[in-house]
């Protein structure tokens, strides 16, 4: 071992066996996380696949039943409803939420006192979803302030937002957008900082108005971040649970806000059908992977990377 290649780890001192011992250091440093990954993620992950092929109520031995759980779940109107609801939440909240965030970021980026405004926009981000759900539950009551204000302003009959399946789903979307807006705003603001002012000035001199600058310059230059955030936001809305669990009281009226994760929770921890629950969770995994793949496919077409 005279001419050991230079690696990122630095030049090995001339002592013999140093590199031999060094690799054990590497393993030791990685060990706690690697062990945790094996024990608390990979093992349950493998078990989820196995359980999905069994009938098990949590006691005794799981009974192998082949693809029955998948046949059951893939034809289950409840899971169908859950997937539909979850997709509606994702398809409503991601585009609207990101668009509002970009607009807010552009406006806040060059305003006096933006630190103050940012704190106000960001407050929901640090608040637990349970607190958010309880606050909005009061606001959205039939005798609550939202419905009452609409009655006073437009004379509409009081609306029980959380009592109607479609309105409750809309309410979940509204609260999700409100709760995540601040985070997206600061991420886009960080992105805006990387656009050089000279580009904007050049465009302004060429006669591009604010709207043209927004769509022709800001949006294309932000597109890698918009793409990344849309993937993150989409995947996190596929995992919606806390809000529907507390805000709309479980699955809401007529399962109107039943989401996929609520469905997994319900089958497993409320109904003790752990095989079915695992099968549903495999469906969630599949959906996540398919949607991520689609988004990465779309990336080539719409995302502008500076060379």
């Amino acid at each position: 071992m005279t001419a050991a290649p230079l690696v990122a780890g630095g030049r090995p001192p001339a002592r013999r066996g140093w590199r031999e011992r060094d690799k054990y250091w590497g393993m030791a440093f990685v060990a706690p996380q690697a062990l945790g990954m094996l024990l608390f993620t990979l093992l349950p992950f493998a078990a989820a696949f196995l359980l999905a092929f069994t009938d098990w109520n949590g006691f005794g031995m799981p009974e192998f039943i082949g693809f029955d759980n998948f046949a059951d779940q893939l034809t289950s109107p409840l899971l169908g409803r859950a997937i539909l609801n979850t997709m509606v939440i994702a398809l409503v909240t991601v585009p609207i939420g990101l668009f509002l965030a970009i607009v807010a970021a552009v406006v806040l980026n060059k305003i006096r006192g933006r630190a103050f405004y940012l704190v106000l926009f960001f407050a929901p981000v640090v608040t637990s979803s349970v607190a958010i759900a309880l606050i909005w539950q009061q606001l959205l009551r039939a005798d609550g302030v939202l419905s009452g204000s609409l009655t006073r302003l437009f004379g509409i009959a009081p609306i029980d937002w959380l009592g109607d399946p479609i309105l409750a789903l809309l309410a979940v979307c509204l609260v999700t957008i409100w709760a995540s807006l601040g985070l997206n705003v600061v991420i886009f603001m960080a992105g805006l900082q990387s656009i050089s002012p000279s580009v904007m000035e050049a465009a302004a001199i060429d006669g591009a108005g604010p709207v043209a600058r927004f769509f022709r310059i800001i949006l294309p230059l932000l597109s890698p971040i918009v793409f990344y955030q849309s993937v993150v936001a989409f995947i996190s809305s596929l995992q919606t649970f806390d809000l529907v669990f507390v805000l709309v009281n479980n699955a809401g009226p007529d399962n109107g806000t039943r989401t996929i994760v609520y469905h997994i929770y319900d089958l497993g921890f409320a109904k003790s059908q752990f095989g079915l629950s695992s099968a549903a969770s495999i469906v969630l995994l599949g959906l996540t992977l398919v949607i991520t793949a689609i988004q990465f496919g779309a990336q080539k077409k719409f995302v502008h990377y500076e060379s």
Binding site: V126, L134, I264
Partner: protein, 283 residues
């Protein structure tokens, strides 16, 4: 990256935007203001005049009633110590693993790192059921250990982020120490850790927020009210007052959010920067 300071605000035209921005910002905090006002309203007012903005009369007993209705102090103590342990432990294990992956070559290191990246894509809920039974097997159901140990030992995102930070530490610093005969542990502890302290601060804030606000795992794993974390305890208020006396429910919500909001305002700069950094994957 500094979200809050770099470009100087331009004054031209911004006075026009101010009223609009102020209105939008007020809309963002209105739910919190409504929570605070409602927490001082009495049952008679809530029943007869739910739309009035100000409490009439001001009822100051709701907060005490909420505090005494369920073991709030206990929940705060639980959440604080769980969060502190999870943050400290996670920063240690993720920075260690990141150092191992970034700077010490060993067989299988690359493959292992790919496993970490891949598993980061898997939603946690996919493994919820088997994870619960694993905890049951170890005897950690209805124990805080189930919320602490796995959180400390599994955080692929943290490893990924810390690795980005370590990549920017010059290798020459390490080489000098190696020539002086310092061990890998000594290099990690005295050179790497101090060099990535700001990054770890950001990661710590993200981990703390996640640990504090975690709901699904405590909901599934904890049974005894005495062990509940703040969000889980707060969720119990939902059914408690039958949706009638929500002045108390809002007081409970305020009890759980106001300390966090005050902490946020104090550390706003670091917190906002941290989340912006992590949102961009540490770029």
């Amino acid at each position: 990256m500094t979200v809050l300071t770099t470009t100087r605000p331009r004054s031209r035209g911004s006075w026009l935007k101010h009223p609009l921005v102020l209105a939008a910002a007020l809309l963002m905090v209105a739910p919190f203001l409504w929570m605070l006002l409602t927490s001082f309203k009495g049952l008679p007012q809530l029943l007869t005049d739910p739309l009035s903005i100000l409490p009439q009369p001001w009822v100051f007993t709701n907060w005490a009633d909420a505090w005494n209705a369920l073991p709030f102090g206990r929940a705060y103590a639980n959440s604080i110590y769980i969060t502190v342990l999870v943050v400290a432990g996670t920063l240690l294990t993720t920075s260690m693993a990141a150092y191992g992956f970034a700077r010490i070559p060993f067989k299988g290191s690359t493959v292992l790192f790919w496993v970490f990246l891949a598993m980061q894509m898997v939603p946690k809920q996919v493994t919820l059921v088997p994870f619960y039974f694993l905890m049951a097997k170890i005897g950690w159901v209805d124990s805080h250990l189930a919320l602490i140990i796995p959180a400390i030992m599994v955080n692929p995102f943290g490893v990924f982020l810390a690795r980005q930070f370590i990549a920017s530490v010059p290798v020459e610093l390490e080489e000098a120490a190696m020539i002086d005969g310092a061990s890998r542990w000594r290099i990690y502890w005295t050179i790497i850790l101090p060099a990535i302290r700001p990054g770890l601060g950001a990661l710590g804030i993200i981990v703390a927020l996640d640990a504090w606000n975690n709901f699904l795992l405590p909901l599934v794993l904890l049974n005894s009210t005495d062990l509940f974390t703040v969000p889980l305890l707060l969720s119990q208020f939902q059914g408690q007052f039958g949706g009638m006396n929500y002045g108390i429910v809002m007081a409970a919500t305020a009890l759980s959010t106001v300390p966090m909001l005050i902490a946020f305002v104090i550390g706003q700069r670091q917190i906002i920067e941290s989340l912006a950094t992590s949102g961009l994957g540490g770029r």
